[in-house]
């Protein structure tokens, strides 16, 4: 998750299967707990907890998947580029580019 931010993502979505339906029994609950830790890290280092979120849906819910992606992408668009990308753009002196999710 953190690597995605290092690689330039402005927001990260983590998709898990429906709670109670995980093939690995509690894998998606563990993923949620791990994500909570990463959110705290992002908040502490000034990147912002709102740039990462977990979504739960089943493999058959294509339309829902698309809706989640549009919703989150719009939110990240609102937030603007992550402080990492701002710092990189400043360092490279290039104008603020497109948002990456």
């Amino acid at each position: 998750m953190l690597k995605a931010f290092e690689n330039g993502a402005d927001g990260v979505m983590v998709m898990g299967c429906l709670e109670g339906n995980c093939h690995f029994v509690n894998g998606n609950f563990r993923a949620r707990a791990r994500l909570a830790r990463v959110s705290r890290i992002l908040e502490t280092i000034g990147i912002g907890a709102e740039r990462i979120r977990m979504f739960n849906l089943s493999a058959g819910e294509g339309a829902r998947f698309a809706a989640f992606v549009s919703e989150f992408a719009a939110e990240v668009q609102q937030l603007g580029p992550s402080p990492i990308n701002v710092a990189r753009q400043e360092a490279a002196k290039i104008p603020t580019g497109e948002i990456r999710v």
Partner: protein, 221 residues
């Protein structure tokens, strides 16, 4: 195993303030098992530090390594070829491992990335609890396998004391009385006579009272 908890990231960032190139060293021993200093934690912490530093406008270069054990010289030696190419080493092994690195690499500042805790066990995934304080004169054979030094908040040798109530210690409602546990266990083992075999007092000369301890095994040298 030796347990520990991560230091707050703010504290780590403050420690790293003077440095721009560091080694972040994990350990595959105890701290991997208690999920605080293994390979995965090295990756998480390295990413966190890099992100924080880059966002603040001052990048840091981190070499990520994980040693088999930081408490054995042969594994520490594997860092020798490159250690002086970096300004500091941030270690997330236990305090023993970190100190051993510091002793071996005298010219490099060593920084602790975790707060070392206690000798304990994994009670369940994500939960560790203390079991032994290394007193140097084990009495578990007399106490039903339950350590009075550790499990009794006062390290008494003839408990329970007056602070024990319904099996709970006066120091906290979630702390079972170690001595109540010992008595219950001795009764169930039919070994209550062990209670009178305990020494009238505990000598602490085998514990920390004589300063740092050392074990020399002639048969192993």
């Amino acid at each position: 195993m030796i347990t520990g908890t991560p230091k707050p990231i703010e504290e780590i960032l403050q420690m790293l303030e003077p440095y721009d190139t560091i080694i972040l060293a994990g350990c595959y021993g105890c701290v991997t098992v208690c999920r605080v200093g293994g390979e995965k934690e090295v990756e998480i912490l390295a990413s966190t530090i890099r992100l924080a530093r880059e966002a603040s406008g001052r990048k840091i270069a981190i070499r990520e390594v994980c040693l088999e054990r930081q408490c054995d010289p042969e594994y520490i030696e594997t860092m020798r070829p490159y250690v002086e190419d970096y300004q500091a080493v941030l270690s997330i092994a236990c305090g023993a491992g970190i100190q051993f690195l510091a002793e071996k690499y005298m010219l490099t500042p060593l920084l602790p990335g975790i707060n070392t805790g206690f000798l304990g066990v994994t009670e369940r995934q994500g939960e560790w609890a203390e079991r032994c304080q290394g007193c140097g004169d084990c009495v578990l054979h007399l106490t039903g396998g339950i350590c009075p030094v550790t499990r009794c908040a006062k390290s008494l040798f003839h408990g329970p004391c007056g602070g024990s109530s319904k099996g709970i210690c006066e120091v906290g409602k979630d702390v079972p009385c170690g001595w109540q546990m010992i008595i219950d266990r001795l009764k169930s083992l039919n070994q209550m006579d062990n209670y009178s075999k305990l020494k009238p007092y505990k000598g602490w000369n085998t514990s920390r009272d004589g300063g740092p301890r050392r074990i020399v095994r002639e048969d192993m040298i």
